[in-house]
């Protein structure tokens, strides 16, 4: 972790990266499950639980939140920040490929969502990063996160906590394969 707020993906979220999936628009097939909000219709909001029933090496101090948004406000919007009671720090993150190593970092300018467009926050892609958690996130908990828009407005989204362990349990082999130095533990 360095001072420019780049994050080497640690064990807690490595699984999310491995789970990375396509960004293509799948609104057609799933839009009917969406819940309408003032600015965005909201589909599949979930947050990674920090309390897990499997014995993993998860990091309890941070987690990620994911959701598929569709801009129903009629005009372009930009999500410039987020806030949650359970975290001291909430940031909008992107995942970038830095020479074969996925790095999470704060996304410059936030998440721009054009009118009527869909914007997906997925593991391994753009997501909401919650750090310095003030409470456990148990499976099934519902966690409110407030999106802050460039126009000064907000929209609150209720995220349900799911256990999501990814492949974080043992990275010994990956570490070996990549021949990375210690700082790059658990990255892929």
């Amino acid at each position: 972790m360095n001072t420019t707020r780049h994050f080497i993906i640690t064990s807690a979220l490595a699984g999310l990266v491995l789970a990375g999936c396509g960004t293509a628009d799948s609104a057609e097939t799933t839009r009917d499950h969406a819940e309408d909000g003032e600015f965005f219709s909201v589909e599949d909001p979930w947050i990674k639980a920090t309390e897990e029933s499997l014995d993993t090496s998860s990091d309890h101090s941070m987690t990620g939140a994911f959701v598929h948004l569709t801009n129903v406000s009629g005009e372009d919007q930009t999500i410039i920040g987020a806030d949650a009671e359970i975290a001291e720090v909430v940031e909008l993150h992107e995942v970038v490929d830095d020479g074969g190593v996925n790095l999470m970092q704060e996304k410059e300018g936030g998440f721009p969502v054009a009118a009527d467009e869909r914007y997906e926050l997925n593991p391994g892609q753009d997501h909401i990063m919650l750090m310095d958690l003030t409470d456990d996130v148990n499976p099934g908990d519902r966690i409110e996160v407030t999106l802050e828009l460039a126009n000064g407005e907000t929209q609150v989204i209720d995220f349900v906590a799911k256990e999501y362990v990814g492949a974080q349990e043992n990275y010994g082999d990956l570490e070996h394969d990549h021949g990375d130095d210690a700082e790059h533990d658990h990255t892929h």
Partner: protein
Amino acid sequence: MTNNDISADKQPNQGVSRRGLLLGAGGIVGGGLVGAAAGYSVASTAATAAPGDLQQPVDVTPGVANTQVTVSHPYGTDTIPFYGPRQAGVDTPQQAHGVYIGLTLKDDTDAERLSSMMRLLTDDAARLTQGRGALADLDEELAAAPARLTVTFGFGSEVFARTRPELKPAWLKPLPKYDIDQLDPAYTGGDIVIQVQGDDPLSVAHARRMLLKDARAFATVAWVQNGFTHARATRPDNTTMRNLFGQIDGTGNPEPGSEHAERIIWGVGQGDGSGSKNLQPWIENGTSMVIRRIAMNVDEWDELDRSAQEGVIGRTLGSGAPLTGQHEHDEPDFEALGPSGFPVISDIAHLRRARSADPDEAMFRRSFNYDEQPATSGDSLHGQTGVSQSGLIFVAFQCDVDQQYTPIQDRLAETDHLNLWTIPIGSAVFAVPPGCQPDGYIGEALFA
């Protein structure tokens, strides 16, 4: 997704052809199955059931990863609605595969956590049964062919103890101890049951795993029972299942949707008015579920010739007709005497012993066969001969276990010729809560 099979399946002899007509009318499928409506015979079936009629390739997108998966329409794509006043998987058409999972709640799973669990599991079931991956599903392609997947939840006493004890039905307790029983804890009891049924073992397996992934924070697995009937396409829809003794099993079931079924399963209405029980559902659109694991000694059953096998049950093996009739659903004539003056249907025949004069004393059976790895010969339980370990996951739904199920079980436990070849080795009773709407979850009444 189509879900025309529910209406179609209520008409046993027309299910297949009606499907063909419906699809044909919609322009999805050609005239193939329409011909079957004209005359149902082996020849016309063989001619019309060409590949494609039941498996038109269609591309579906099961979830967020935007992958396209090619599945078969309609048998792969058929869905049974999840949301509704009643849970699916009780009197909806029976599928080819059934998995029963008994859960034991963890000590710290209090009412609030239990509510969280049921919300998660309800969401999983709602998505998976409609051909969609679960939330945060890494393997959503496995959900692409729901094939009439249903997920049904039942609650044991412990759920009521941790939520609203006053709602617990009086019949929610272990069945009486029967002399015939040799209950194995590995298949007995449980705080919650999840019944996963579907025609595609792949989507059933995926649903099972996704549900257990979300349950593991709250509960541990007490037991799992895997069962099967016939593959959907091999017999006309709504064919009564056949058990591994070769018997047609479930003929006496009330016809789903009929007045009789409404009363027997859901405690609604008066049936034909001749029943003697005071049937009150424990909650509107709720019912009860009894799961009995019945070991069947198929290897000793072999020692009987066919007529002896038919005598034990009181029905012919081929059609399932009573020994006094021609067709499966003919009423048995218990008075009829054979040439030697003995009843054609013997005094200890299963059919006679199971029958009640009181139409309220009935259940709705929805059983599956099991066929496990043979255990060592000489094992204490029947049916473990070193060749076979087979049996029945006997599942019965009824409004009131004490009034409807137990009297029949009492009679069968006392005397039933079939008991010589069968042993109950597992037993569990659950209260089945109502269904829910998209803004609710299964069991919500217990958390009100």
